[in-house]
Structures are given as structure tokens and as C-alpha cells.
Symmetry: D2
Subunit: 379 residues, 4 copies
């Protein structure tokens, strides 16, 4: 269980790092949306390994195929299935993993839970599973843009203790994609790249923080009580591998302020007479519902667990031993985590867009103007 996400825009991923391949089924996508494999591939290319000198050198093209749900370039309203076959992997790299549990990986917990494990490259716990999410995120982004011109921009905010200076209100995707670490602060990005390269040379790894902003978000998204927008975003983002936390708006830091310092006072905008807030410590969400201000969130990703340094561990039969990873791995997942975070944010927002529409924008006079003439007793 646990491979399905979303209530109305609902995705189900499948696949392990080794075996036939990985993919996703998207159910609930509105019909007649123009979408192409190229648009999806563009997002997958931001996620794929081997894209730069600071990611894993594994070469996988992660080429996607739209199996169903799109006809003559448009969505049918029925499930969109997207499939990415696995290439022949060097499973001999993983022989040692058959016996030894990698520290801070899922090997031991999968064995404890299921009593069985695909020990080739992480199996279902591999970050390769996120291919399906990123593909679905590409579709969600397209819907959000078509319906409300929502822009989602994620970026690396911090690597270890190197923190970039970025204004979420103005940052562009071009600035993010301008360097391989995906930090829009170009000067800081260079230093980030340097420490990541050093970590690789040290057979070690680094973590950091991804920040993401959604702009132009309509008011009213999010449901009171359990499905608050920030609660669903937290679940979505923290379901990504290596994420250890989540915060929205002022987050943990906001607790250092008093209420009078923290509250977002209201004003009425000169143009349009909109209710706006002077500050945005709420991060675009009040009472679990979007208020039309920019939605801002952050998530910490731990340093990659797989490292070349020798570590103490045990085998699946309980014998103590040591392990030093020999495979090709990322010295820092943050650059590749950016499109993953964006995808989860897009999926959650798209789901809530549909949910809000279903309940709160149902016309109380008629369902569908097209079928007005239906409204007579049929004899």
C-alpha cells in the first residue's frame, strides 16, 4: 500500500530500480489538455542521473513513453499511463548489498516489514521511483498554468551551511537552471559546487535545503481540518526520499517572534480592491487555505546515505561487518531533488484546485450550460 497519492488528481507509481521499469498512472486529469511526451521528458531530464559533474555518473536516459490516456496530443480524461523502462544495470555492483544493510538506507526496514527484499539497487526504495512523480508533476504543472497561470519555482536554498540569497517573489526558473546546483544565487552556487566536489573526493556526502514558491495561486485552495494545504504539501514533500522535514512560511524561525511581530496585517490593494497581507509570514496559507499570496515552503534533505567511506553495519543474518559503497552515487541529492519537490507541490496544488472547484464552484442553477435544454421532464 501507499503507492497512490491524491484525491481527485490521483497518481499511482510502480516499479523498482531494477526489473522491467518504473512508471505512473494519473487518474482524474481533466480532458482536452494538450500534453506531449516532450514536455514530460523535459522535467525528467532535470531529474535524471548523469546530468552534471555533481550528480551520480550513472548514465540513464530515462526516456518516457505515454502508454495511454492521450490521443492526438490531448488528454482523454481517462488514466494517463507513463512508462520508463529500466536499462540493463550493473547489478554486480549490488552483490554486497544482498548481504549487508546500508546504514540509513531502507534495506533493514524493508526486510523487517516484508521478510523479503529486492536487494538490487534499493528496489522500491530507490529514488528511481520518483520518475513517476516527476512525470505526473509535469502534467500537474501544465494544468495549473492553463487554469490559473500558477508558476512553481523550486531551487536549492542551502547546501550544508552555504545559504543562497534568493527572493521567492521574483526568482525565475531561468535563474535556477543557470547552474548545475540549481541555486539562483550564482555566486553562492559556485561555492556550493565546490563543496560538493570536495565531498565526492572525500568519499562523503552533503545535505541541504530546497525552497519552493508557487505564485499566482488562486485563493481558496485547501480544505479545513485534516486536508489543509500545508498538511498535504508536507505529506507530499516528506514522502520524497531523504526529506527529513518541512516548513511553510515563517516555519520554525517564526516561533522566535511575538504574535504582534508575526501576524500578517491586512490591507486592500489599490488595483482591484483585493484583500492582501502586508507581510507573508503565513507563507500564502491561512487556516489551511490559500490566501492568494505567494506560497513558500522549505524542506531539508539529509546528506546522501550511500558513501564511499567505510562504515560499521550488520548483515541480514545479524553478523557485524563493514561496508564502503562501490557503486556510482550522488554526493548530494539536492540538485536532483529540486524537480522532485516541484512535482509534489504541483500535484498537491492540482489536486486541491480540482477539490475546490468541485465543492465551491458548482453553479447552483445548472451543472452545464451545454445541457440546459435537458432541464425538462422527459416523457
Amino acid at each position: 500500500m501507499g503507492s497512490t497519492f491524491g484525491h481527485l488528481f490521483r497518481i499511482t507509481t510502480f516499479g523498482e530500480s531494477h526489473g522491467g521499469g518504473v512508471g505512473v498512472t494519473i487518474d482524474g486529469c481533466p480532458p482536452r489538455l494538450e500534453i506531449s511526451a516532450e514536455e514530460i521528458q523535459a522535467e525528467l531530464d532535470r531529474r535524471r542521473p548523469g546530468q552534471s559533474k555533481i550528480t551520480t555518473p550513472r548514465k540513464e536516459t530515462d526516456t518516457c513513453e505515454i502508454v495511454s490516456g492521450v490521443f492526438e496530443g490531448k488528454t482523454l480524461g481517462t488514466p494517463i499511463a507513463i512508462f520508463v523502462p529500466n536499462k540493463d544495470a550493473r547489478s554486480q555492483d549490488y552483490g554486497e548489498m544482498k548481504q549487508k544493510y546500508r546504514p540509513s538506507h531502507a534495506d533493514a526496514t524493508y526486510d523487517a516489514k516484508y521478510g523479503i527484499r529486492n536487494w538490487q539497487g534499493g528496489g522500491r526504495s530507490s529514488a528511481r521511483e520518483t520518475i513517476g512523480r516527476v512525470a505526473a508533476g509535469a502534467v500537474a504543472k501544465k494544468i495549473l498554468w492553463q487554469v490559473a497561470r500558477v508558476e512553481i519555482v523550486g531551487y536549492v536554498k542551502r547546501i550544508k551551511d552555504l545559504e543562497g540569497i534568493v527572493d521567492p517573489n521574483t526568482v525565475t526558473i531561468e535563474q535556477v537552471e543557470n547552474n548545475i546546483v540549481r541555486c539562483p544565487d550564482a555566486e553562492c552556487a559556485e561555492r556550493m559546487i565546490a563543496v560538493i566536489e570536495q565531498a565526492r573526493r572525500d568519499k562523503d556526502s552533503l545535505g541541504g535545503v530546497v525552497e519552493c514558491v508557487a505564485r499566482n495561486l488562486p485563493k481558496g485552495l485547501g480544505e479545513p481540518v485534516f486536508d489543509k494545504l500545508e498538511a498535504d504539501l508536507a505529506k507530499g514533500v516528506m514522502s520524497l526520499p531523504a526529506s527529513k522535514g518541512f516548513e511553510i512560511g515563517s516555519g520554525f524561525g517564526g516561533t522566535l517572534l511575538t504574535g504582534s511581530e508575526h501576524n500578517d496585517e491586512f490591507y486592500t490593494s489599490e488595483t482591484g480592491g483585493e484583500v492582501r497581507t502586508v507581510t507573508n509570514r503565513s507563507g500564502g496559507v491561512q487556516g489551511g487555505i490559500s490566501n492568494g499570496e505567494n506560497l513558500t515552503l522549505r524542506s531539508p534533505f539529509k546528506p546522501t546515505s550511500t558513501i564511499g567511506k567505510q562504515q560499521r553495519t550488520v548483515t541480514s543474518t545479524g553478523e557485524e561487518t563493514t561496508l564502503a559503497a562501490k557503486g556510482r552515487h550522488d554526493p548530494c541529492v539536492l540538485p536532483r531533488a529540486v524537480p522532485m519537490v516541484e512535482a509534489m507541490v504541483a500535484i498537491v496544488l492540482c489536486d486541491h484546485l480540482l477539490r475546490h472547484h468541485s465543492q465551491c464552484q458548482l453553479p447552483m442553477t445548472n451543472l452545464d450550460p451545454v445541457s440546459q435544454s435537458e432541464l425538462r421532464t422527459r416523457n
Copy 2:
């Protein structure tokens, strides 16, 4: 939508701060569990207003009634409905709220979403809604204890910049309940109480961080991919009013370490030959699944939005004005947030206990020993 939570241990809350009352329906509770209204009331008493000088002076007893699902002191397996009637509230306190949006409250977003709002005391967005959660949490705690001796202990870790020193591995509920701020560091608790009292005198408010630990958690709880244990915990906790974030284990701080510093090395315990970890930066969860170590999490709660200081705001018709809250309110929600966090943690863990049991502990030889004799062709 959004008033139901959980997949197998599923709760649905209802009610507004004013009107008939608030409550919860718990579906999926195992049968034959001994539970009494007194046990539930004990948890509600930790949540109720007026319990100490640093909470709101509102006097509400929040007396619960078990409406269904319990018979002769035991659960029936069918839905447990628990109801807490609202007492006559001073709704005249809320007259001003009919017009003016309280900053950083849900008034404006509810109006934007629904085009209608119960302006009496916050309506559905009132923290009074959490009564249903705390009641359900009492049932979940009982199940967790009966099945696996799981202990859940929450406490105030920080108020503004005052941080208590607490060892999650040994802290007891008695230490937590020993003072009114629910910080087990008794010396720090006194200073916390002092700053909260000062904030009240200043007509201001404070925020802070709640920490929570679950001990004796069985291995194997949590589902790969989307329903990772930390993802569901994040959703549950961040669906509480005023929560602005969540972290598990090393959280945001863990990103300052390298992989070799951060990884939890494995060893085999002398007694029992269990696979254990030397450190616990994972916070009891690896790959989304509990590893048997103590589960530790934290959540920041913002300073209470309702303050006596005058603030800039607008009316529901867009006119700019000011507002200074006259009602009775909490200068700091943290002490009352502790049982709420515990409740959400218990509900998530109980849900995952049932989920794990359903899939991974199904005997492959027979469903039910009692009906062994059923296993013949009936003619």
C-alpha cells in the same frame, strides 16, 4: 471535504466553536477493547481551556459522551461516536469579528473559499475542533499500548528562544505534567511560564516547539513511497491549527552534517540479537518504515494570532480598519498543543499498525484458527 483522516483507523470530526457541539466518529477500531469515557475525558482535560493561569480563562468543561460503538465497557468494532456539547458562549464577544478579518486567522480565507462564514469564534477553524482529535487519540493510545506497549510522550521543547533540555529516551509523562507549561525541564519551565505571563500582560503572544517521542514502536510500520510514516505524521501534525512545520529525527539541523557524520551505523544487540542503530539521527524511521528505535519529531507552533494589541486589518467589504481582540484567548498555545500532537501521532501510528498487520502479517496457511474446521468443501 477534509474532515476525515486515516485509512484503517479512520476518524471524522464535525462541529464548530459555536452551535450544537463538536465530536468525532472513529471507524475501524478493533473490537473488544476496554475503553471508558473517563479515559477519554482525561485526555480532553489536558486540552481544555481554563486549565491554568497561562491558558485562556474561558471556562469550558468539555465533558464527553460516548454515543455509540461501546457496549458494556468494550468496543463493538462499529463506529465510536463521541460528542461534546458546546456551552452557551458569549457570542457578543464576537460581534466585531462579523465584520473585521482577524490577521493571520482563517476568517478571510474561509470567506474567499466558501462565500459564507460562521463568524462566531472561528467556526470550523476554531481549535475547538481538535476536541474530536484528542478524543480519538485517547482510543488510539489505548490500542497502541494494548497491542505493543507503545508509549507516546509529547512536551514543550521551546517557548520563543527558551529551550528545555530533555532526553526523549527517558522523559516520562509525569515529568511533563509536573508543570503547567508541559516542559519536563523544570527549571526552564519556570522561565517559560514567566515569559508567557509577560506576553499576556503585553497583550501579545508567543510561539514555540513541541517535541514528541514514541517508544517501543514495533518495526515495520509505514508504507513505502507516499504513505511513509514521517509523511503521514507530518500531515497529521501540520493539520493542527498554528503548526507551521515538522521535522523527524535530525530534521533541518541534520543537513549541517556530512553523510559519514549523519548515517546511523548498525550493530547487533547483545540481548536478543536485534538489528539496532548506534545513533538515531533517522528518528526511528528509515525508508519511511519504523526501525524499532525511538521515533522523535518536532513541530513549531506560531505565536497565537489573536492578541489584544491593536492591528491593521480590513472588513469583509474591503474597508481598512483596526482590530484589538477583546475576547479571552491563549497567550501561548503550546501547553495545550502537547495533547493535540500526541493525539495525531497516536492516530497515525495506530492506522499504520493496522495497515502493517493487514498486509504483512496475514497468515498464509489460514485466516483464523477459530474457523479451521470451515476449511472443507461444503456440500
Copy 3:
């Protein structure tokens, strides 16, 4: 589990026949719908016992209270909780039931499933649970009417072998309510009433068939594959106590025709140029999706299990014995089943109305005209 129904218009019922009371929480109801306790009560009065000489003589007023979700006569968009307290029942009537399993009742299966049972009057398996459904159905009917002028009319089609002649295309609710058996064929209704009264005198019971029509249904409701409209209707109706089947359109009888006899040929209506069908053997649904023709369905309800005649049975400890019901019971549930079937049909249709709206009627240019001015980058 199993006390929640619906995906977007989602109801959760609670309560047993004895104990505090029964009720329902409705989540997902659109905001600003005018609804009153009186409207709900009117439907409950059609369901309540003691309404005529051919129902159980038990006197219960089943008076409902709206606990939450409605403010100043309008829905808030947040959960509507409706509660009906149980009156003091003569539980001494049920003393024998503590030991003896009533044939074709749920006593034995509840014991087998849960190992515990509320033996007072059926507990959760009592038809009293349907109060919550009928209350929710009243809300669903109101939405369907407000949005699309959908009319739902249920009626007794057959009692044992007495079958009324009714045209589903023209039958009115007034014709149905014109007699106590709820069969719009007035002449047949008299004979039905006579045989039911004879069954009561014989200490026996009768079954029959309820038919229901939904008119003015918009095209497009229902989802391909698993959530076909007829599949969800079948589940909803067959979840009612005593229902043993379901058919839509031509149903079982349609299999006696050939394809060329059975197919519904298309034509274009003179007024409006609508695609219509010459016949309606499909019953208003093709490929799981409403086609704008009248939706017609039928469900058989078995003869009441509780009868005064002596029957062979066993005790909960396995001893063979006999039982003759002494309590007050319905000699035929059909008249009271009519509002229950209507309620489930309304709830399913309302759920699918919202589902269709969410996916297929999302404007691809903007979510909400009101927030057009939001569509600029906020700096």
C-alpha cells in the same frame, strides 16, 4: 470500517438502535445551500416506524437536530452533522436475543466477526442506522434539484407477486405518497395493503421490489471502469438492509432479447438537437455514464426476517432451540424502504455530480472569475 460512503459528497453514519442515538456527518456539501431541519425531517418522517397500520407499531418520532455545518439557514461548506437521539426503548423485548440468534439476521455473523455484539435490537445492523442516510439523502436531493432540477421518485413496484403498473417517465411523488404502501398504482396498492395485513395476522412477512427513477439527470455523470454510475448505485442500494439485488434498465429481463431488439437506437431531438435514444433499455446509463435519458433501477427486498412464527435456531453457545419474535416489527419493509432507496440514489448522483464537475468542467482559462485580478506575478 465501512461507515463512510462517497468520494466528494461523503457521508459517515454512526449509532446503534439502542444507546445515545444515531446520526450522520456529511462532508463536501457545497456552501450557501439553503437547508432546514424541517426539510430533513420531512424525509425522516417517510422512513420512521409507526407511520401506518402496515409498518411496525413502534412509536418513535425520530426528531433530528442539525449540530453543525449550517449557519443562518445556509450550509457553510464544512461538515453537516445531524443527530437523532434514541428514545427509551423497551430493551426487555430483546432479552431473548441476548442468547438466541435470529434466523437470517446479523446476530450470528456479528458475533463471528467481532466476538462481541450489542444484542439490544440489532445494534449497528438495525435499520435504524438508515436514519443517517435518509437525512443525508434530503441534502443530496436539494443539491440535485438546485443544480440541475433532478427529480428522484421511488415507489413500491411489487409486493410478493402483486406488481403495480407504473410509468417511470411520468410517475409523481404525490401518486406515491397517496397511499400507505407507496405504490402509485392505486388499485394494486389496495391489494398490496391487504396481503401485508394478512401476513401480519399470520405472524409472517412479505418482500417485494422497489423501483426508482431519476429524471432530468445531466449527461456525463459516472466514471469509466470501476466507478460506473450503475456500479456505485448498485453498491449504494445493496448496502441497505434486506436488499438482495439490483438491476438497471432492462436488467435481468433484458437478457431474453437479442442485441437488435435490445439496443437503444439514437435519434436527434427536434427541439434542441439533442442526441436521444428511441428506447431506454440502457436505463439512462451507457458505458457507466448518464446519457440524459431517465435513469431507472430496481432492487428486491427480502421478506422481513423478524417474524412471530416459531423457527428453529441456535444460541450463541451453540445449543439448538426455537425462537418466535415477540417485539414489534414490520410485516413488510417495502413502504419504508422507498425513502431509503431514494436517499442512496440521491447520494450517489450528488457525489457523481461533484466528481464530473471537478474533472470535466474545470475552465481551462481561469479557476474563478472573482479572482481574475490575482493573475499577475506578485512582487
Copy 4:
């Protein structure tokens, strides 16, 4: 939406009749179950076209591939994805369908719902979608057998007015597979085959009734109120293409009896002291919960909509025209519907097996004997 089914044993299908292929993702399957592509293929072969002279002559091998979730012959507990590629179909057969709505098909309703349609061979509404269900059903059957020796046997009970004589308590799968129409009454089967062949010559089609029995079913499966076993079975079976109804046990016919005739009296079995029923008009389910007797159900499948005879219809632009199907189609879907019904019954029963296990068979002393030693406070 609507492509996912089940709560704990949860399947999601994807694919259209034309395009990349069709398939299914099964989430929630217990780990360590032995399953092979051959076992799944055996069920698919019972469903595939071209299997006999009375099915469509289309030649498709429907060869399945297990993409994920199975490792070294055993399930991993993670999602099982099964894929069947589409072969190059003669889409020129479908040119006329681009314009003309086939009577009693889903062409017109899909267009009305989505405003777009894959007109090649039915798209998502094609019976080809059921490949995913039958594949998932093979896995469900294996689980039911491994856990409780449950046997599921479906067969053709009636073709038009030719009804076979079959005892559901003793019928074997060998008797069913003994002839191409899948009616275990061999003499009647011959006549059924003859009328189907005649219908094909007449360019017409026939319908009928499938009956299905599940034997050795444990007591206690099914959830009170909405998820009654018969309600979920009705939904599952009626979600199959061409099904127009459902009944369990005595069904529609049972309403011709009085209560004293219809009730199933209890007795205690000599061997084992089990509570049993003398008759089985309940069809194995009482109060929505299995009682250990054989579960029996029936569903009518309408005569195939696609026929060679000329029929009146309209085009997608509303012009009246005629249509005579030229493609290859089944003169009667019943023989191929048998494995589909069995699959849906198996999927529902497996889901309820897991649901019952999760709630009612949770040991109240410890979750997992293996982790008993975990039950100490960890310091």
C-alpha cells in the same frame, strides 16, 4: 477518476484498446506470495479473444509481463505492475466509428462527458480494459487459496432462455472448462453453443446470466453499513462492461416467498459444533458479513451491442444515419465474462479478507511475535 478499486487490495488499471497497451498496478498484495507470469497468463487465456468459434475471431495473444513487485518468483509487498502490449490492430475497421455513435455503446456518453474520445475500437470503454482485472484476479485467487483454501467457480447459467442445471455446491472448474460456452450442464451447453452460432449467422447477438460461487469462505468477511460484502460484490461485478444487474442468494426470486419460507434456520453441525444454516437463501452473507456458507451470486450480461445488422443512429455532429458493424465481434460475451466475474469476486473477497484481518484479528497482546523483544523501553 474511477480506475482504482479496493481499499487494502487495491488495483488501478490503465490503457485503451488501441495505443501502447493495457495493464494494472496491484497495491497491498501480501509479501512472499509465490506467483508467476504463467499463473496470470492462464487466467488471461480464458478471457482472450479468438479462443473458440463462438467468440470474436480477433487474434490477440494478450501476453502479460510482470514489470515490478515480484522478485525471484515471490511478491515483494510493493506494487505489482502487469503490462499487456496492444498488437497492431486494424484501426481501419474503426473509421466509421469516428463519426457514428454505436447504439448502446459508450461512444456518445464519452463524447458528452469529456468532449473528446479515442474512437479506435472503444478506447477506454473497450472490454480490453478487463485484462488488468483478470490479471489482478489471478493474484487475488492465489491469496484466497493460500490463506483459506477459498475456491471461486463461475459459469454460464443461462444464455437467452436456455438455463443450465448446475449445483453451485459441487460444480468444479473442470466441468466449466469442459466446453467453450463455459456452462457445466454439458447437454444444455451444446444447445447454448448452437443458438450463439445461429445469432452470429443472423448478424445478431445474445445475452445471459453468469453465476458464481465462492466456497470455503471464512466467516466474518464484509463490513457493516456501506461496505457490506454483497454491496462491494455488486459494485465490482456491475463495473464490468455489459452487466445490467446483480443478485445474491435468493435475489429477486426470493421476494416471492414469505419470511417463514425464506429465513435460513440455524443448526449446530455435528462435526465441529459450527453454527450452520439449514438452507442458504442468504447466499452466504447475513448483515453484509459472510456466514461461512457458500457465497452465490448472479449477474445478467446484455446481448452484445455491436451487431452486423443495420441500425438507426446519429453522428457526433447530430446527423441521423445508419450503422452496421463490420468489425470482428463476439456474438455473445458470456463465455468470456466468466473469468471476468470470477476476477472481480476474487478481488473483492481478497480486499475484505485483508480488511477483516486488520481490524478483527489484531492480537491485543503484541503485534508481532518476532519482535517480542522490542517490548522494552529503549534507553
